[in-house]
């Protein structure tokens, strides 16, 4: 008990104590290059067009109705700026501006359409925000080359710790989310996913085995819950990192999760010692024939008084928000995976298998004339798929239909939906009350009573 007390007393001091800047610098370079690669990949796959230009309608986040795509020229300009700013982050040129622009633009494109939501996009937004406040450009950067006086050799621990904290959260909460009955005791949805891979050469037959599905489920859960603690201990770090790479490589091969494994594998290098990063820097420096050098000694940043208090306060608030926000689902009744109220922004990654079919009907209130809506006249295939399993998007879609119908001269249409959803291989069940007029329901964060029980 006294030990804990002394730790908690030392912790704030430790946060402001000095450490070498190398890990932060390497992280800056890696992050910038990864974002550059991701953006180029996104562009080359044609997703700018198919996600931001082609759709006729977009699903907004509550409170962000005002975020709209900017048309073809605008969107391509945004992506050009993303490429430039991520490159600038990597080389450390106009670093603070580059981070700020990257953060704002990346967050902007993620806010355009909810159906594009991915946990790792949220992660990138958070990290981009964090690094705006970190002095990651003050060594081994163009900024220092231009103005040597800003060069730093040491930084406070909190700068590197904040990134480790953010990374640790992703794993830990992903692990907590797996602590549910279906995942642990039915090996669901792992069984369904593995079933789809049984045609793989050599190992395919194994995937049909129930015990394999259980092993994958349990190993995944234990890995997520514990990996960050093993990474923190020097003794276990190499083995833990190897396990981490194997884990992400496997999931990367098995599931269409894009850049996520890469990002995690490279980001978690920050858990290695400052010696390790210092050697990496020296190696990089040798590539530039020693013209860019990490500083041997010299400046460091020490914050005092008011600034220090503000910063500590901000960090504490950020940490508390991150720790509490994923638990907001407890405020809602019902089965979380079914209602998805409080589901997003909580590191619930690869957790369930959900699919739905939605039939929408518009009724003319005067004549009683009723017609089935053709979803493809409003939504892309991907949008339709996402909408059909998420109640807030179902409601938004009803409002999109209402707006279109009213613009075509039919006022106050009655809009009903028959939606059938299957969760983790269950029988499709009616998802929402088909008699409810969705056109009359206001959007909001309150519990949606019209969601039927699972």
């Amino acid at each position: 008990m006294t030990k804990i007390k002394s730790y908690s007393a030392q912790f704030p001091q430790w946060l402001h104590a000095e450490t070498r800047i190398a890990p932060l610098v390497i992280f800056r370079i890696i992050f910038g290059l990864m974002m550059l690669a991701s953006t180029v990949r996104f562009w080359s796959k044609g997703w700018i067009d198919s996600l931001f230009i082609q759709p006729n309608n977009f699903f907004h986040y509550y409170g962000f109705e005002w975020v709209k795509p900017m048309g073809e020229i605008g969107m391509y300009t945004v992506f050009v700026l993303l490429i430039i700013s991520s490159l600038f982050i990597a080389i450390g040129l106009f670093y603070r501006w580059a981070c700020l622009i990257y953060f704002l633009l990346f967050t902007y494109i993620e806010l355009i359409d909810v159906t594009n939501y991915l946990n790792h996009y949220y992660f990138i937004s958070l990290v981009a925000l964090l690094i705006c406040f970190l002095p990651a450009h003050r060594s081994f950067s163009v900024d220092v080359w231009r103005r040597p006086s800003i060069g730093l050799n040491k930084v406070p621990n909190w700068t590197i710790a904040s990134i480790k904290f953010q990374l640790g959260l992703v794993y830990f909460f992903a692990g907590i989310a797996k602590l549910n009955y279906d995942w642990l005791f039915n090996a669901m949805p792992m069984s369904i996913w593995l079933q789809a891979k049984t045609h793989w050469p050599i190992i395919g037959d194994l995937f049909a085995e129930k015990w394999i599905a259980y092993s994958f489920s349990w190993v995944g859960c234990i890995f997520d819950l514990t990996i960050v603690f093993f990474l923190l201990y020097r003794r276990f770090r190499p083995v833990a990192y190897l396990a981490l790479v194997i884990f992400h490589v496997l999931t990367g091969i098995m599931f269409p999760i894009g850049m996520f494994p890469w990002i995690m594998i490279l980001s978690t290098l920050i858990f290695f010692s400052d010696d390790f990063h210092q050697k990496l820097l020296l190696f990089l420096s040798s590539l530039f024939k020693g013209r860019i050098k990490p500083l041997k000694a010299g400046n460091y940043v020490v914050l005092h008084g008011f600034k220090k208090k503000i910063l500590t306060g901000l960090l504490v608030c950020y940490a508390f928000f991150q720790l509490l926000f994923p638990f907001r689902y407890l405020l809602y009744p019902g089965h979380l995976f079914w209602t998805e109220q409080g589901y997003r922004f909580s590191w619930r990654v690869m957790l369930m298998e959900k699919a739905g079919t939605a039939f929408f009907y518009v009724t003319n209130p005067k004549t009683g004339k009723r017609g089935e809506v053709v979803n493809s006249q409003f939504l892309t295939t991907t949008q339709e798929k996402m909408m059909a399993t998420q109640p807030d998007l179902i409601l938004q879609y009803a409002h999109i239909i209402k707006q279109e119908v009213e613009s075509r001269g039919l006022k106050d249409p009655i809009i009903n939906a028959e939606v059938y959803v299957t969760l983790n291989g269950s029988r499709s069940k009616p998802f929402i009350d088909p008699s409810i007029n969705l056109a009359e329901i206001e959007e909001g964060l309150k519990h949606k009573k019209w969601i039927l029980d699972f």
Binding site: Q195, V249, V362, N364, K369, G371, E372
Partner: protein, 366 residues
């Protein structure tokens, strides 16, 4: 430190593995037996049948005698055979048929026909059938109009006008050219179709499945719900409109619908034109022991039974669709809801068991 570096090195070698696409890992073509059956026993012979029905129509048209009603009747019968035959190939709108030069669905069967454009084309005599604006003035719906829009006596009078026969000949040439191109292209495309691996956007599996679903949804909406007034246009409920029915003038809408359903049903079951039952989607779903999420039990059986039900409800109608919409809307509504029941079975269950990807983008496995 050395140990650490070597571990990181090994880790990055593994990364090389991660960078290969999940689809590329599949080195055998899982559906090749199914694709072979579809290509050799359905696609190729069905196109051949459609081709020969068009040739027979050509003979009737070239030997048409406006003074002989039996000549008209035989021309009409040949047209009906060709229209029914078309229903069995409409689903194959991928590969050669989806080439811009072919676009068989748009070129052969854009219904409803636009009567005023047809009449104008015939009157002016100067038209280019390749213009997209002429899609709705040609193809089988144009024949439907020209050969059935009034009684046979009046038709004989009309058709004694050479320009009307010439227009039909041009429409027929247009279809024949495109179908011939498609049939020739399948000689080489067959290998591509059968050899395509994986489930990516342009894989045979994905192309085939999407057309299967599209063709089914077209029966449900364009051929039934829209004329019956159960549908909407951009959300606005539409009124019943019997003038947009497929095969409106020849009054063969139910036969066409049934032929279209039978076409999909045979593909589903794997039954070739020779009547032999080979590998179909049914067999694949059985192989996966697929369970329906919509009804109890086996998905393969559930879809099979739903095809039987859909065709049975159509067969109860004794008159053409236009008449039934006006006099018997509740039965038409029942048909529509039976058609609807199939949608989640194909769109969700079948798609997920066949692992056809919907999303183009990355996911984190919602």
């Amino acid at each position: 430190m050395k140990r650490l570096i070597s571990i990181v090195f090994v880790a990055f070698c593994l990364l090389g593995l991660a960078s290969c696409d999940p689809d590329e890992v599949k080195d055998k073509v899982e559906y090749s037996d199914f694709f072979e059956n579809v290509a050799d026993n359905m696609i190729v012979p069905r196109y051949a049948q459609f081709q020969s029905d068009l040739s027979a129509l050509e003979v009737s048209l070239n030997t048409f005698d406006a003074s002989d009603v039996s000549s008209l009747i035989s021309l009409q019968e040949q047209f009906k055979a060709a229209y029914l035959s078309w229903q069995s190939v409409s689903v194959f709108e991928f590969g050669p048929a989806a080439e811009y030069s072919a676009l068989l669905r748009a070129n052969c069967n854009s219904f409803p026909a636009n009567i005023s454009i047809i009449e104008e084309n015939i009157e002016v005599g100067d038209y280019n059938l390749d213009f997209p604006s002429n899609y709705e003035a040609k193809g089988l719906p144009a024949f439907d109009y020209l050969l059935f829009h009034t009684n046979n006596n009046d038709l004989l009078v009309e058709l004694s006008e050479p320009s009307r026969i010439a227009y039909m000949q041009d429409c027929l040439d247009d279809m024949q050219d495109k179908v011939d191109d498609v049939v020739n292209a399948w000689d080489s495309y067959r290998a591509v179709f059968v050899g395509s691996a994986g489930n990516g956007q342009n894989s045979s599996l994905s192309l085939f499945f999407n057309q299967f679903l599209y063709d089914y949804e077209r029966i449900k909406r364009e051929k039934l719900a829209l004329p019956a007034g159960f549908a909407s246009d951009y959300g606005v409920p539409v009124d019943a409109d019997t003038s947009i029915i497929e095969g409106r003038f020849s009054k063969m809408s139910f036969q066409l619908m049934d032929a279209n359903l039978a076409s999909l049903e045979n593909i589903y079951l794997g039954v070739g034109v020779d009547g032999l039952d080979g590998v179909g989607i049914f067999e694949k779903l059985k192989e996966y022991n697929a369970q329906s999420t919509v009804v109890d039990g086996d998905l393969a059986i559930a879809i099979q039974e739903q095809f039987v039900i859909c065709r049975a409800v159509i067969s109860q109608f004794t008159n053409d669709l236009a008449f039934e919409i006006i006099t018997n809307i509740s039965e038409v509504q029942e048909t529509s809801s039976q058609f609807q029941k199939m949608v989640p079975m194909i769109k969700n269950d079948m798609r997920s068991y066949l692992s056809v990807t919907v999303t183009l983008t990355d996911s984190d496995g919602d």
